[in-house]
């Protein structure tokens, strides 16, 4: 599989000011692919020093 097989991305950030910096990295990995995307800013991830968590769902016909 590759980035083109990603159908959904869910992203959790802990600081709204990180959205722009995060999006720049994501854009580099996704290229021209545009999966469904949800981005949330939440109070904290499991450890306070973690700033971002990414979940993906990918599907591929065999």
């Amino acid at each position: 599989m590759a980035a083109a097989d990603i159908v959904k991305v869910t992203q959790y950030l802990t600081r709204a000011e990180d959205i722009q910096g995060y999006a720049a990295v994501r854009a580099r990995f996704l290229g021209d692919n545009r999966p469904a995307s949800t981005l949330l800013v939440i109070p904290q991830l499991v450890w306070p020093e973690i700033l971002v968590e990414v979940e993906i769902v990918a599907a591929k016909a065999l």
């Binding site: 590759a2 980035a3 990295v25 990995f29 973690i50 979940e55």
Partner: protein, 190 residues
């Protein structure tokens, strides 16, 4: 065969018509029946079996499909001519559960390691496999659905950059590695 089976202690108003040893793997957990064939997910035998049940008095195992290493298929569902099979960690094959009682004690995430801080490599396959069962006895795997369990921006050694650019880079690199290599580094997902 039915004469050899023990009599039930409590069951009433039911009568055993036939019996099948599930192809020598008598540890079925979940059963779905479609087009006269039972799809049976195994607990200890991993994988799933297909049993022809069109003749209720003489059910017979006609196929067995093995799960990937350290993976079990205890949950499955049929929908029309599709069979959906869940791949998950084979809990009883894990060293953590050499003593089966450990499965029922403590917090499962801590026991199996999913609560650990590092993104250590896993030796089982997670996801949903999709089979075409238009020919009921011979399911054909036609697709898979890969679900990550969350990808924090951790390196394999557990290091964590202190800025968003570094963490995002690691998180997405982890995603790409998963997509490219699968859970086992062999390209197989489910």
């Amino acid at each position: 065969m039915t004469a050899e089976l023990p009599k039930p202690d409590y069951a009433r108003n039911m009568r055993i018509l036939g019996h099948c040893d599930q192809g020598g793997r008598p540890d079925g957990v979940q059963i779905m029946v479609h087009r006269g064939h039972a799809y049976v997910g195994h607990m200890f035998s991993k994988g799933f079996s297909v049993i022809d049940v069109r003749n209720a008095k003489h059910p017979r195992a006609v196929n067995y499909l093995a799960a990937p290493p350290n993976t079990w298929n205890i949950h499955l569902q049929t929908h029309d001519d599709l069979l959906l099979v869940v791949n998950a960690k084979d809990m009883f094959a894990a060293a953590e559960f050499a003593d089966e009682k450990a499965y029922y004690k403590g917090q499962l995430g801590n026991v199996v390691g999913t609560a650990e801080r590092t993104s250590a490599a896993r030796d089982w396959t997670a996801g949903l496999a999709v089979y075409d069962i238009s020919k009921p006895a011979t399911p054909q795997r036609i697709g898979c659905w890969l679900m990550t369990s969350g990808t924090p921006g951790l390196s394999a050694a557990g290091g964590l950059p202190n800025d968003i650019a570094g963490q995002a880079e690691l998180a997405w690199q982890n995603v790409m590695n998963l997509l490219a290599k699968g859970r086992h580094g062999c390209g197989r997902y489910c």
